[in-house]
């Protein structure tokens, strides 16, 4: 015992950097290394999920069935969604959190570094299992990412693997969330009160609580599916006295907070970037925090607006309609505050700012269609049509994913120590923005005109807009190759200064670029706020 204690006492971090070779990554406990792995993993998943989207858009480019069978088409829509939601968007935000939260709050690392290692390394296993189902008898899951019974119970050999991989994703998310909460609550530099925390840290704190609240609910729902299939229970089987609609209630009790899990950190990223490039403090900082908290609370009481056609009682429909409309208020506050932050600033338009501005524009369009979807009688028409597909892709692609891109460009010089190629970044931005709209805007029209989602072939009156959307999808996919080039050449630019940008606020800009392997061995002093 005494030798160990003496050992610990003498132990300092000055003498060693990262381990060599694969051990650095497999046994990683450093928040920066784990953050890097999360970001690379999520980008790989983004490309795989994107390829699946291109299979879908190829088949839908013209009427008639040209490339794939309907079964495989359904496997593609299902896998595309699962991979993008759980493999691309969520891990990307956890990656940003890993890299930035300790540096933003003046902590030396995450609070639970070994659990951090676990929560990352579970993910490749989970997605390895999920992707392996593509090669199983009966193919990959084809019941949609919502896994509604009884259809999901018709899945072939892939079924238990689907459930197991969802469990693993859930465990990974819960561990990540615990780590983030413990880090934020315990490891802030002493002067940093909760309200002085950077807004990105705030939105992640709220997101982490949402994750802990709802991931076990998803785990419960899929476990009930598993026992219905293999152990003779009838939770969701009407023949045994169960209720298929109960699954939808449980799933969306997870699913709606999940939607905000994917957008709140995006709000945080954008709220960091706009003030930097407007050279002006974030407008209504406190109300931004309260609005994010309100949105998080409301997310728990609106789940059944995904289910207006299941035959709910009138009172239920009215409640969920009114509750859903309320979300427009805090979301509006956030958008207005971003615009007010820009107002009378001195803006420049580097790539992160461009992505952040496009986020505000295009996320707001997704918000508008969200408000339209809250109007129940109209929702009955929009439901399960391409209008919904347009809506959630607007909030997820030029919403969440643009925010992730913005964050990546914003912090990349801090990570690598070099400025990325600004011209290529801008090209990436403009092509992405043009093609993302070309892809998803026509889908509004398709849905209103009556095209259901999740169909491999369609009536001929939908041909024109589908063709446009397919062109857009390929354009968007190819534009991401530019981003790969930007990343590969990230270290060829001029060396970045510590502040990187024009006097941004935050502790992460006080450490050298690239950020050393260990930052803040002692709690830093908080600089005085720039604006009173």
């Amino acid at each position: 015992m005494s030798t160990i204690a003496a050992d610990v006492k003498d132990h300092t971090h000055d003498d060693h950097g990262p381990a060599k070779g694969y051990r650095r990554w497999l046994f990683a406990t450093n928040h920066k290394d784990i953050g890097t792995m999360y970001l690379i993993f999520s980008f790989v998943m983004f490309l795989i999920g994107g390829l699946m989207a291109l299979v879908i858009r190829s088949e839908l480019a013209i009427p008639g069935l040209q490339f794939v069978h309907p079964e495989f088409f359904n496997q593609m829509t299902t896998m595309h969604a699962l991979i993008m939601v759980f493999g691309a968007v969520m891990p990307a935000f956890v990656g940003l959190a890993n890299w930035m939260i300790p540096m933003m709050i003046g902590a030396p690392d995450m609070a639970l570094p070994r659990m951090n290692n676990w929560s990352f390394w579970i993910l490749p296993v989970a997605f390895g299992i999920l992707l392996s189902t593509l090669f199983m008898p009966g193919g990959a899951p084809a019941s949609g990412w919502t896994m509604y019974p009884p259809l999901v119970l018709q899945t072939g050999d892939a079924f238990p693997f689907l459930i197991f991989s969802v469990h693993l994703m859930g465990i990974s998310s819960i561990m990540g969330a615990i780590n983030i909460i413990v880090t934020i609550m315990n490891m802030r530099t002493p002067e940093m009160s909760l309200l002085r925390m950077p807004i990105f840290v705030w939105t992640w704190l709220i997101t982490a609580y949402l994750l802990i609240a709802v991931m076990p609910v998803l785990a419960g729902a899929v476990t009930m599916l598993l026992t219905d299939q293999f152990f003779g229970t009838s939770f969701f089987l009407a023949a045994g006295g169960g209720d298929p609609v109960m699954f939808q209630h449980i799933f969306w009790f997870f699913g709606h907070p999940e939607v905000y899990i994917m957008i709140l950190p995006a709000f945080g990223v954008v709220s960091e970037i706009i003030p930097t490039f407007a050279r002006k403090p974030l407008f209504g900082r406190d109300s931004m925090i309260y609005a994010a908290s309100c949105i998080a609370f409301l997310s728990f009481i609106v789940w059944a607006h995904h289910m207006f056609t299941v035959g709910m009682p009138l009172s239920g429909q009215l409640f969920f309609m009114f509750a859903t409309m309320l979300i427009a208020i805090p979301t509006g506050v956030k958008v207005f505050n971003w615009v007010a932050t820009m107002w009378r600033g001195a803006m420049t338009f580097e790539t992160p700012m461009l992505f952040a501005l496009a986020f505000v524009f295009l996320f707001t369009i997704g918000g508008f269609s969200g408000l339209m979807l809250a109007i129940t009688p109209a929702d009955i028409q929009y439901h399960d049509s391409y209008f919904v597909v347009a809506h959630f892709h607007y909030v997820l692609v030029p919403g969440s994913i643009f925010a992730i891109m913005a964050g990546a460009y914003y912090w990349l010089p801090k990570w690598t120590g070099f400025m990325y190629n600004e011209a290529l970044g801008k090209l990436h931005f403009w092509l992405s923005t043009i093609f993302v709209n070309l892809t998803f805007f026509p889908m509004h029209f398709l849905g209103l005109a009556g095209m259901p989602r999740r169909i491999p072939d369609y009536a001929t009156q939908f041909a024109d807009f589908n063709f446009i959307a397919s062109i857009g999808a390929f354009g968007f996919g190819l534009s991401q190759l530019i981003f790969i080039w930007v990343l590969l050449t990230a270290k060829r630019g001029v060396p970045a200064t510590d502040a990187v940008w024009d006097d941004p606020e935050g502790l992460e800009w006080t450490v050298p670029s690239p950020a050393p392997f260990h930052t803040f061995d002692t709690p830093p002093k908080l600089p005085a706020p720039k604006f009173g």
Partner: protein
Amino acid sequence: MLQKTVLCMIGLTLAGVAHASWGLNMPQGVTELSKETYDLHMKVFWVCVAIGVVVFGVMIYSIFAHRKSRGVTPATFSHSTTAEIIWTAVPVVILLALAVPTAKTLVRLEDSRDPDLTIVATGYQWKWHYQYQDEDLGFYSSLSRPSLEARRKQSGIDPFSVDNYLLDVDNPVVVPVGKKVRLLLTSNDVLHAWWVPDLAIKKDAIPGMINETWFKAEQVGTYRGQCAELCGKDHGYMPIVVEVVDEDAYQAWVDTRKADAPQLAAN
């Protein structure tokens, strides 16, 4: 002259956009409630447009006017209680103005009392079965033969050469015009959903449960829709066709159907 040409072109474009076959907007439909639904949809759409014009207008102005390259010094303000109260209160008022008419329509949508006739629609993988409760009449309705042949992978048949490709059935539902039709929905296997945009109806068909909805078509015609809940590999191939006919034609259809029924059974 040039002005006239431009105006003419704009006019033609607008006419083209307004033309139904472009399919840019929700159909107004042929029931009172479908028109109300359309009106609600347009109302909330214009509210969004108005908010969008204001918010994006301010933002675009700011992007052009408040840029560093114009040599402006940034302001330092970071909050304004007045502004924040205004942009919290105004949305509340707008939402209330939307909520009241919406709730009224919703109440009427759910009122399926006193129907003139009742049809039970049962979803199957992948077709519909219709049972006319008062008439002792029932039949299956599945994708029609020409679409069935053209839909096969690389069938070599141009979908554009097939009438109502994927939206045609062998046995359509026939209902009388101006009568309140109650639809009871259930399923024999997985979830399905019965959607006909012109009737503004979409309701899930759930095994072990009976869902209820209704419509009263005000206009004679053929209205097409599709299954709207993913139900397996042929989800895209179980359309719905409703033929709204006048009272006499409806009676005649019921009579022939009934007369044919024993024959069909014998076959």
